[in-house]
Amino acid sequence: MLTKKDLPGTPLKSGDLEKVLTLKFKPNLKYDWDNGVAIARYLEELKNGKIIGKKCNKCNRIMIPPRMFCELCFRPTDDWVYVKDTGKVNTFSISYVHWDASRIKEGEPPYLPAVIEIDGASKGMGILHLLGEVIPDEIKIGMKVKAVWKPDNERTGAITDIKYFKPY
């Protein structure tokens, strides 16, 4: 039977990790992403304080985020449909880590990411967003929530035009 000493590989000790040559560079690269027809309209409507989806008349799904083609029927989608800015929490987390896994500062409020099923879209159609104005321990799956929008003049046509969703 193989033992640890039979296997190749040289684990470094914590001390060794300090002694590394680090290469730091900041490439002057910027990504200028095109949003496409569907997401461009989605963002435009967010700027107006509304959420819009798109319907496929073959499978009858009202989809958010909207898309120009139905990936299941593999045909163009049909009608633009305004959905509500309310929904219910499908699932949630209480996160003490940032996107790069670093820990939030002591006393800082945790992130409250959630999947929110949007009212007016087909069953199960959810989006990732954040919850706010809620005590973390009181969040429940199935809780009804409503979008809290930035003021008109601060909206830029971005998913962050919705600050978060709060219980109502």
Binding site: M1, L2, T3, K4, D6, L7, P8, G9, T10, P11, L12, D16, L17, T22, Y31, W33, N35, I39, Y42, L43, M63, I64, P65, E71, N90, T91, F92, S93, I94, S95, Y96, V97, H98, W99, D100, A101, S102, Y111, P113, A114, V115, G124, M125, G126, I127, L128, H129, L130, P136, I141, A158, I159, T160
Partner: protein, 390 residues
């Protein structure tokens, strides 16, 4: 082999490096070490290898673009037909499927399959490399992390079946214990359910000890056609079924409580292997366990137990090495470590060794004949399954 026109393919050799928080060796050197060991284990030389396939996860871990080309000399690929494959966390079990195609098709008689990951180069944490897998317009501005979506999925799963964190922590306890007997293990230890519950909360319901570590490591196997395999060994392990399936990238629009894509991948592999009742016919399994709840989620997707019952099954002891359905006898990603692509191949190797009766202290009793390994990845999206038979 069930499907007309396809040749039988066997696993005949295997090699692995230690899984480490940080290795002195480069990714190329790790790939070389695992490949060399795999060749030596079945008495082959590189010149006996017809083609090479390599699995490795995001280039962003290494900060090296075209990682397949970068690692190719370590994988013994120069002057040979060579392709890199990548399906996120599902890569380690897709790589042998990719190799299987090469031989089952009749194109080649031998294939070296190499999987490598070196996650330690990325700072402050390799998790940061995952930001750009989310949609750039509708999700990235919210600064999501993979830990969030695991937490969201785990919570949904718990809620659907009324499970507690305690029920799920048992998986972490079992796997870290099993890994004490694995020579490559990075974080094997004896822990209790209380230790898991009391470890740091990262993103509720996920605590530190619910999650596998970032690792450096490599693994390799040799695949051979029937004629070659029978010349090389008395104990070939046959790849009897392969399956893979991808679900929507609009991950928030499907219910996360059940991995349908894993079920579809499993059905494809079971059909090929002629398996009708997986819970009776599969003797031993290595589902992917980057988080403890994932092992349960995947056991259900693989139809090894009814939906919502994997936790109960685990609590009964059935998934221990001595139980009726040993799950992750290697120690899994939670115990051996999780150099993404290499982990999937480590799972394939575990079944290979178990079916040959060569797993030493990890050997499960009862002379297992049929086993499977499974991996999962992308945005809660892809399932890869290999069924093996002695």
């Amino acid at each position: 082999m069930g499907k007309t026109g396809l040749r039988k393919v066997a696993i005949v050799g295997a090699g692995i490096t230690k899984f480490m928080r940080r290795s002195l060796e480069t990714g190329k050197e790790l790939s070389y070490e695992a490949s060399r060991m795999a060749l030596d284990s079945c008495g082959l030389r590189l010149k006996d290898i017809d083609c090479v396939t390599l699995g490795t996860a995001p280039d962003a871990f290494d900060g090296v673009h075209m990682k397949g080309e970068y690692l190719s000399d370590g994988a013994g690929a120069w002057r040979k037909p060579y392709v890199r494959n990548y399906v996120g966390g599902g890569t380690g079990v897709f790589a042998p499927i990719h190799g299987w195609f090469h031989i089952a098709s009749g194109m080649f008689d031998t294939c070296l399959v190499v999987c490598e990951e070196k996650m330690s180069s990325c700072h402050p944490h390799p998790q940061g490399a995952f930001l750009t897998i989310f949609d750039h317009t509708t999700e990235q501005p919210l600064y999501p992390t993979l830990i969030w979506i695991f937490a969201l999925e785990m919570n949904r799963y718990m809620q659907t079946y009324g499970l507690t964190k305690k029920d799920i922590a048992l998986v972490s306890v079992k796997n870290k214990h099993n890994a004490l007997d694995h020579p490559a293990a990075q974080i094997a230890q004896e822990i209790t359910v209380e230790d898991v519950l009391n470890s740091e909360t990262l993103a509720w319901p996920v605590n530190r000890l619910d999650i596998s570590p970032a690792s450096d490591g490599a693994a390799a196997i040799i695949l051979a056609s029937e004629d070659v395999a029978k010349r090389l060994t008395d104990k070939p392990v046959w790849i009897d079924g392969v399956g893979f399936n991808l679900d929507t990238a609009y991950w928030a629009t499907k219910d996360l409580y059940y991995p349908r894509y894993v079920e579809k991948a499993a059905r494809m592999a079971y059909d090929m292997a002629g398996i009708k009742e997986p819970h009776k016919e599969i003797n031993i399994a290595e589902p992917y366990d980057p988080f403890d709840y994932k092992e349960l989620h995947h056991m259900e997707g693989l139809m090894l137990c009814p939906r919502g019952k994997a936790a109960e099954f685990t609590a009964s002891g059935a998934t221990q090495r001595t139980g009726s359905m040993p799950i992750c006898p290697s120690g899994g990603a939670l115990g051996v470590g999780n150099p993404i692509a290499a982990t999937g191949l480590m799972k394939i190797m575990e079944i290979f060794w178990q079916l040959r009766g060569e797993a030493g202290k990890r050997q499960v009793p009862g002379d297992p004949r049929v086993g499977l390994a499974q991996a999962w990845g992308d945005l809660m999206q892809v399932g890869t399954v290999v069924v093996m038979r002695r």
